[in-house]
């Protein structure tokens, strides 16, 4: 958290409708690259093998025609897509037959990311993604811009957002707070007003991870731990099988064992090396009131989430990480970061010493109220239900084999007793806590999860009681928060406290 270099003041990107980089169409066309190459390769192989019939010439013609149409489509789409950087909003016009006019007010920005793929870096280009509140069609992608324009647009949008939220005084056309003033909002007519400019914002570094810590964080994540666990389990199983078979291990069994172990090691190394590239140069910092995360070697990502737009923070660890005393955090914005490629846009704090968690969260949000409150455990009836449910979950799938191999198969059902330690472990951890700023929900048997939800971001609350829960006087509480990643909450709270929290927590958001 050392103050470092000041950030250059923001200047206004040129106004007026502009197109993205002309290379956009070429990149769109190149995205077909693999498909095209594979088709060409197939055609070539067929030709070599003499499989091509008399109609080969016609097939080639169709193929070229399809390619040309696709290429032209990319060019036309690029030509008809323009963006206009306004004082208060970004306007995007696109579409050939049906024109779409989209207005993105800077004040509503939830997250703004700069993404540079390896190819884009070679050409000095970048893709800018702007998210307004969650839902459909709320992500605007400006692909591709030259890097300088993209960075300038991002800085401008953030500065204007801050100015707009500072108060109604920062009216359109009087954006003094940003250090640049657009006179009368006329396109291109900009002039600076140095006497009104605030001191340039300072970047405060919160967390930097070197290769070693990135590797540690990635290798102790649930995925690799599970792979190693499964690999060892398979090795033990193969070993036991061999011993039971006749004592002397034969060559085949040793081969399988070696294959399993080497396969496990290769998988883990691949994950580790991939992560070293993905999270190379990991740096989390605060500029003004925005969280900035930058990482990546071949694929550079710069994520920006305004602090006020943080919807919740999830703290996760697993048995290995607990032994090492580290946790990881996910800072959720309201942007669409659901799955697939979007998951890479989550602001993740890969690794943090557990003892630093309260201080880190307070520094991250610049609010001591974010320190996680103590968690109140659930009632004894919740413990009973936790155990009974898990015993049932384990035993039910074993019921058919147990019945089929009666009476010896009844021993299968004893495996259901595994549900007892599982349920007890899950119950030991579960609980909720409420502080003046936020509510916290803890859960998980092996992988522990702590959800921190600020009262200010709760949209609504739900509780539900199944038939069995009603008999035990319990209920499930869920808080609805904007953004992807489900609704934080807790199973099997006492009915009365679930009802009270459901009525109380959403009202505190005022």
């Amino acid at each position: 958290m050392t103050p470092s270099e000041p950030v250059v003041p923001v200047d206004r990107p040129p106004a007026g409708a502009r197109r993205t980089s002309p290379l956009t169409a070429a990149f769109g066309f190149a995205s077909l690259g693999f498909a095209v190459l594979s088709v060409l390769a197939t055609a070539w192989i067929e030709q070599q093998a003499g499989l091509g019939g008399t109609d080969e010439g016609i097939g080639g013609l169709w193929f070229e025609l399809a390619l040309t149409v696709f290429g032209l489509n990319q060019i036309v789409k690029w030509w008809f897509r323009t963006y206009d950087v306004g004082t208060d909003q970004l306007v995007i016009d696109e579409g050939v037959l049906t024109r779409h006019h989209r207005v993105v007010p800077y004040g509503r920005i939830q997250q703004i990311d700069l993404h540079r793929s390896f190819l884009a870096q070679l050409f000095g280009l970048a893709e800018l993604r702007i998210d307004t509140a969650g839902g459909e069609q709320t992500t605007v992608r400006l692909a591709l811009l030259d890097l300088a324009s993209a960075e300038r647009l991002r800085a401008w949008a953030l500065a204007r957002r801050a100015a707009l939220q500072a108060g109604p005084a920062a009216a359109p056309g009087a954006s003094a707070a940003t250090g640049a003033v657009a006179v009368g909002g006329a396109p291109g007519a900009t002039t600076t007003a140095p006497w009104l400019a605030p001191p340039p914002p300072v970047e405060r570094r919160l967390l930097e991870l070197d290769a070693g810590r990135v590797a540690l964080a990635v290798l102790t994540a649930a995925g690799p731990v599970a792979i190693v666990g499964l690999g060892l389990l398979a090795a033990v199983w193969v070993g036991a099988w061999t011993l039971a078979d006749g004592g002397a291990p034969d060559l085949g069994a040793v081969g399988v064992l070696a294959f399993v172990l080497v396969g496990t090691a290769v998988l883990v190394v691949i994950q580790g090396v991939g992560a070293l590239f993905t999270f190379h140069g990991y740096r989390l910092s605060v500029i003004d009131d925005d969280l900035h995360l930058r990482h990546g070697l071949f694929e550079v990502r710069q994520l920006t989430v305004p602090r006020r737009r943080v919807q919740r923070i999830t703290v996760v660890d697993n048995p290995l990480r607990r032994a090492l005393g580290i946790v990881s955090l996910t800072v959720h914005s309201a942007a669409a970061t659901g799955g697939g490629e979007d998951a890479a846009r989550r602001l993740e704090v890969l690794s943090l010493p557990r003892r630093d968690l309260p201080a880190f969260v307070a520094a991250l949000m610049d609010d001591a109220g974010w320190v996680p409150p103590d968690v109140v455990p659930r009632t004894a009836s919740a413990r009973r239900r936790a155990v009974v449910r898990r015993v049932a979950i384990v035993a039910l799938p074993l019921l058919p084999p147990a019945v089929l191999t009666f009476p010896g198969g009844l021993a299968f059902l004893l495996l259901g007793l595994l549900g007892v330690p599982w349920g007890l472990a899950a119950h030991r951890r579960a609980g909720h806590g409420v502080s003046p700023t936020l509510s916290a929900f803890a859960s998980g048997a092996l992988v522990h999860r702590l959800e921190l939800v600020p009262h200010a971001r709760v949209q609504s609350a739900r509780s539900s009681r199944s038939f069995f829960q009603r008999r035990a006087g319990l209920a499930t509480l869920r808080l609805d928060v904007a953004g992807s990643g489900g609704s934080p909450g807790l199973h099997d709270l006492a009915e009365a406290s679930a009802d009270e929290l459901r009525r109380d927590l959403p009202r505190r958001s005022r």
């Binding site: 004040g107 509503r108 939830q110 509140a133 969650g134 839902g135 737009r309 309201a334 971001r457 949209q459 609504s460 609350a461 739900r462 509780s463 539900s464 009681r465 199944s466 038939f467 009603r470 869920r478 609805d480 928060v481 904007a482 953004g483 489900g486 609704s487 009802d499 459901r502 009525r503 959403p506 009202r507 958001s509 005022r510």
Partner: protein, 167 residues
């Protein structure tokens, strides 16, 4: 300018528990029974055309009838568990036969309120109010509101919602 219809019952916003309009039972029953009935009739017709055993055809028909009766019973039970209260600052909904759901949506979180009317609802003069917040998971669908009150209730809630980006 259109004349403004009278305000609906919860004009006081004092949290008095409200039942849904009883006609909503017909909407729910029809919603599950009509498709079931159509499938049953089609199955019976096809079975008798291909000359299936009479017992099989009768069984399928009976299954359909039982399903329709069950749908009606469920609709009645569902209506009996439904209850909504408009408080000064939030709307509270309670419903569910097998699993009891309860939710609370503060007015200041409302982003949008839709009034939806399906074909059966239109025939019976009912509307559904769908409250939307910035969270996709919010459960705030208020069915069985008499159509003449729906717009007024929507306006009443929107006035309470105020102007805020609420994310």
């Amino acid at each position: 300018m259109q004349p403004v219809p009278p305000l609906p019952p919860p004009a006081l916003l004092d949290g008095t528990p409200q039942r849904l309009d009883p006609r909503v039972r017909v909407v729910w029953a029809a919603g599950s029974a009509l498709p079931l009935l159509a499938v049953t009739v089609a199955a019976v017709v096809v079975l008798s055309l291909v000359g299936a055993p009479g017992l099989l055809t009768a069984g399928v028909g009976l299954l359909g009838v039982v399903g329709v009766v069950l749908a009606a019973v469920l609709a009645v039970l569902e209506w009996r568990t439904w209850c909504w209260s408009a408080w000064d600052d939030a709307l509270e909904l309670t419903h569910g036969v097998v699993v009891r759901h309860a939710s609370l949506v503060p007015y200041h979180r409302i982003q949008q309120i839709d009034v939806e009317r399906g074909p059966v609802e239109r025939a019976l003069g009912l509307s559904s109010l769908v409250l939307r917040t910035a969270a996709a998971t919010t459960d705030a669908r208020l069915p069985g509101i008499p159509a003449e009150h729906a717009d007024a209730l929507r306006r009443l809630l929107l006035v309470r919602a105020g102007v805020d980006d609420a994310v």
